[in-house]
């Protein structure tokens, strides 16, 4: 299939999904419309693959005209190879999430609006990734923003938190849109065209270039959820239905990364050179701040949302490192860094999809997403346990998952960048490495905590003790399980196939020579080799004798089941005495107390008869996002004050309004005539 065919198929299937969502009765709606959305995802993958493989890219041209004969450029849909990679990400995540949604969507998420918006959301993202000009890019961007807001609002009737999340999201996403529109307007006015190729050829520099760069960076960073523009993310992701959270987190925020990569490599490479440190700082700080917040939160979906900020931060770190190294004429290593950025994007898409889908299954089974009230799900939810476990390994960058391969590549780029070249590099590289290492370490803790408290140990609440079964007799529940398994397979598959994948990315970015693959492994010329197959084989080869030994001993010494291992006559303590997610993160909250500023309250009430004996101890701890408290809350209250002041201008008097109109007319005349 060609890229054009793929795009047209995606359009058709989206229309079909919308029609099906509207006409099919509620009982079959999820299967019918979800199936069509699945098709949109698959069409997206095919479009992406076609765009990556076929070199002279096909183009969809939609001529447009304005009244009064004002000539403007036509709308172009021409996915570049790089856009193709993101088409594959969007399509893949969309397909898996649609498959899951076929079995999962319920209530408002499975309504006519819900499924229509889902298909349109996928199409919008495909448009962004394949846009060849400013207008279609912004159209796709806005489609994606509106459709995702609608999806986010699904449960607004049931939970008030959804409404506030939707307001935050809508405001932030439209600030992002405004900022992008400003940046593009500046570029287009200089290039006298709205097509990306002309803009790139115009080599805009100077103050206009700088202003455009900053505006675009701001817009993309907001969408990507980079600190300090991440505030919508930990609100919107938890409140959306889980299959939608998966798409938002795994695919939508990636388009922000796509924007940053295209901006720095194609649209404004000259201006970007001056801002490589800014990009790097955004990435590194997002990584460390995101994972620190994720490690201490006990809300599973909020944790995943913050971890998204972290992973996007790592990808942007890779972009920043690549820019810095390219500035210092260390081309080959810079290439490796950018390939690492794409690897990080793809790997995060794979594992975060599975994690959010797993969270959805937990939420459906227990009605809980608070880790402090979960536990013991390994016994009732084996498929979710395995798939979530594999994805958590990916998120923690353990071998041989995709996350490991991606972070290995980035670390190699960091270590092989020559810091002796200039002072900036000599400082930036080690500091980046240190913060990234902290990010990796905390990521490990975060996902051990998430997996350990949700799936292991004993249930910490009634709901977790008797969850709904993982699968029912209905075929739709099998679709849910299948989606999780496919996602988990992708996490491992991308890790094992890192060689071919990285080579593809290298050719997508137009590099040659440094990144090659051999026998499935990844070889970075003069840097290092990573062969996940061999690594896995060595691991299995060593596990085999150990396993055989165990089998032999097991026959001689059988295992004994007891109620308490070392009870010494005691009984099992209540599950309330278990470590919870909050207590798991307690040491971290102490260590990073200065940065997190938690608020704690400890109330001790004493017995009536004796003031020394304690009756009840109540402990509460709350950690809020300091960026939100320090920056956004004052800004919001300031805006409110300004708004109140502005209201005085409008007092309802018709004379005053006529006066305003007259003044406006005079102003326009003065401006145009002078």
């Amino acid at each position: 299939m060609t890229a054009v065919g793929g795009l047209l198929t995606a359009f058709t299937l989206t229309a079909l999904a919308v029609v099906l969502a509207i006409v099919v009765p509620a009982r079959q709606r999820s299967l019918a419309s979800g199936g069509a959305s699945l098709g949109v995802g698959v069409a997206g993958i095919l479009t992406g693959v076609a765009a990556i493989t076929s070199s002279p890219t096909a183009v969809v041209v939609i001529p447009v005209a304005l009244p009064a004969g004002i000539g403007i450029d036509p709308l172009l849909l021409s996915p570049t190879p790089l856009g193709g990679v993101f088409c594959v990400v969007v399509g893949g995540v969309g397909a898996v999430a649609a498959l899951y949604g076929m079995g999962y969507a319920h209530g408002p998420a499975a309504s006519r609006t819900g499924w229509s918006a889902f298909a349109v959301f996928l199409l919008g993202m495909l448009l962004v990734a394949s846009a060849g000009d400013v207008v279609s890019f912004l159209l796709g961007w806005e489609t994606m923003a509106i459709a995702s807001t609608v999806l986010l609002l699904a449960d607004h009737a049931a939970r008030p938190a959804v409404r506030s999340a939707a307001v935050w999201y809508a405001v932030m996403t439209h600030l992002s849109f405004l900022s992008l529109a400003t940046g593009f307007a500046l570029l287009a006015s200089r290039a006298h065209s709205t097509t990306f190729t002309t803009i790139a050829a115009a080599h805009v520099t100077g103050p206009t270039g700088i202003a455009a760069f900053l505006a675009l960076l701001l817009g993309f960073a907001t969408k990507a959820g980079l600190v300090p523009l991440h505030v919508w993310l930990p609100r919107a992701h938890p409140e959306a239905p889980s299959h939608v959270s998966a798409v938002m987190s795994a695919a939508m925020v990636k388009l922000g990364v796509y924007g940053i990569i295209v901006l720095t490599s194609t649209w404004l490479p000259e201006v970007s050179r001056w801002f490589s440190l800014l990009v790097l700082a955004l990435g590194v700080l997002s990584g460390a701040y995101g994972i620190l917040q994720a490690s201490i939160t006990s809300d599973l979906k909020r944790l995943l949302a913050y971890s998204t900020t972290e992973n996007v931060g790592l990808a942007v770190t890779a972009v920043g490192v690549g820019m810095l190294l390219a500035n210092a004429d260390q081309g080959p290593v810079a290439d490796v860094a950018l390939v690492a950025a794409l690897l990080l994007v793809v790997s995060h898409a794979a594992f975060k999809t599975v994690l959010f889908l797993g969270a959805g299954t937990i939420l459906q089974a227990t009605g809980e997403r608070d880790l402090d009230r979960l536990g013991g799900l390994i016994r009732t939810h084996p498929v979710t346990t395995w798939t979530f476990g594999i994805a958590a390994m990916g998120a923690a960058a353990l071998p041989v998952t995709s996350g490991f391969a991606a972070e290995w590549t980035l670390l190699q780029a960091l270590v092989h960048g020559d810091g002796r070249a200039n002072t900036t590099l000599a400082l930036a590289l080690p500091v980046t490495l240190g913060l990234m290492a902290l990010t990796i370490g905390l990521g490990l803790l975060t996902f051990v905590k998430a997996f350990g408290t949700a799936f292991l140990a004993r249930p910490r609440s009634e709901a977790a003790a008797s969850p709904a079964p993982e699968f029912t007799a209905r075929p739709s529940s099998a679709a849910r399980g299948l989606a999780q398994v496919i996602g988990a397979a992708a996490v491992i598959g991308l890790g094992l196939a890192v060689g071919p994948v990285a080579t593809t990315f290298s050719s997508v970015l137009g590099y040659s020579g440094t990144v090659t693959s051999e026998l499935g492994g990844l070889r970075l010329v003069t840097i290092g080799v990573l062969d996940p197959y061999a690594l896995a084989l060595v691991g299995l080869g060593l596990a085999l004798p150990v396993a055989l030994l165990v089998l032999v001993i097991r026959r001689r010494v059988p295992r004994r089941q007891t109620d308490v291992a070392w009870g010494c006559g005691g009984v099992r303590t209540s599950p309330r005495m278990e470590y919870t997610a909050t207590s798991y993160a307690e040491p971290l909250v102490r260590v990073f107390g200065e940065a997190l500023r938690p608020t704690r309250s400890l109330e001790v009430s004493h017995l009536e008869e004796d003031h020394v004996l304690e009756n009840r101890v109540a402990f509460a701890q709350e950690v809020t996002d300091i960026v939100e408290d320090r920056w956004y809350a004052p800004a919001a209250s300031w805006l409110r004050v300004v708004g109140d002041q502005a209201r005085r201008v409008q007092n309802g008097s018709i004379h005053r309004y006529l006066g305003f109109s007259f003044a406006a007319l005079v102003l326009v005349l003065v401006v145009t005539l002078s």
Partner: protein, 313 residues
């Protein structure tokens, strides 16, 4: 092929010798504390005893109780195979890249932490939480010292670093090299649960980290956990001594070279182990919340090592 055999030989030597190292460390400590001590061969007897004992499985624990010890053991065996202890040869497809080695170590760390959570006891959770916190805070120092060591060589492959340091004595005594090794020593102490981070011989629940995670394990499960942790100690201690004194390692299959390499490894690691044990006698465990300060100190050393390595180059 030779490389594979050499690596296998290294694994056999390291595995066989590990309980002796632990025995010597315990014996040194016992003697310095004025006790007779159980003798240097006691760890071998312990393992044999544990393997013959009945493992328990408490109600409410999952398959992880059985799997985690095996995962820890396998990851430790893999680290022992990869780290240059006896030989600098590596299997070509699996070079001993330090980032790979570290992440394989982390698999074992994660397996232990999950084991601690599995039984749902308060102690297990506490140990697991502290263990992961330390692992997270150690990570920057580890990667930073790797970075410092890799700058002069231009590679993060351990064998290349060791060979390069062995070939040129002036590399070993540079400020960068020394600082990095000192930082690594702190890392090794933290990673293997030695004083001043964790007390390997404690029986007071509130002070322990490693022990509280393995409380629920018995019989062969405990044996795998013990051997796995000991192997980590051998691998990391061996790595540090080979970085500090990078001589005597075999690079090819010559029998004499191999014997010398084994003798050199045993001597170096035993002396290092005895020194660690002796130092532990005179040292108290620091408070848990002082540990980050210690690790931050080692991070600063590693950072200085990196900057120093730029200056030197």
């Amino acid at each position: 092929m030779t490389a594979t055999l050499l690596v296998l030989w290294q694994m056999v030597v390291a595995t066989a010798f590990t309980p002796l190292l632990v025995g010597v460390m315990r014996q040194v400590r016992a003697r310095l504390e004025g006790r007779v001590g159980p003798g240097v061969l006691q760890p071998y007897r312990d393992v044999r005893k544990l393997l013959a004992k009945e493992p328990l499985r408490a109600e409410g624990s999952s398959l992880l109780l059985i799997a985690a010890p095996l995962v820890l053991l396998t990851s430790s065996l893999m680290v022992v195979a990869l780290v240059p202890l006896v030989t600098t040869a590596t299997v070509p497809a699996v070079p001993n890249d330090l980032f790979v080695v570290v992440s394989i170590l982390l698999i074992g760390t994660v397996a232990l932490a999950l084991l601690g959570l599995d039984a749902g006891t308060a102690f297990g959770g506490m140990g697991s939480s502290r263990h992961m916190m330390i692992a997270a805070l150690v990570e920057p120092t580890v990667l930073m010292s790797v970075y410092a060591l890799s700058v002069p060589v231009g590679s993060s492959t351990l064998s290349k670093i060791v060979v390069a340091r062995g070939a040129d004595v002036s590399r070993v005594v540079t400020p960068a090299g020394l600082l990095a090794v000192v930082a690594l020593v702190v890392v090794v102490l933290a990673e293997t649960g030695r004083l001043p981070v964790d007390n390997p011989s404690t029986h007071l629940e509130l002070t322990m980290i490693h022990e509280s995670m393995i409380l629920e394990s018995a019989g062969r499960d405990l044996a795998w956990l013990e051997v796995g942790s000991w192997l980590r100690l051998t691998a990391l201690l061996g790595l540090v001594v080979n970085l500090a004194l990078p001589w005597g390692l075999a690079s090819d299959g010559a029998p004499i070279g191999l014997l010398v390499a084994v003798a050199a490894l045993v001597a170096k690691v035993l002396v290092a182990g005895a020194l660690v044990a002796a130092a532990e006698v005179f040292m108290a465990k620091v408070r848990l919340f002082k540990v980050p300060e210690l690790l931050a100190g080692s991070f600063v050393l590693a950072f200085l090592a990196v900057t120093a390595s730029y200056l030197a180059g």
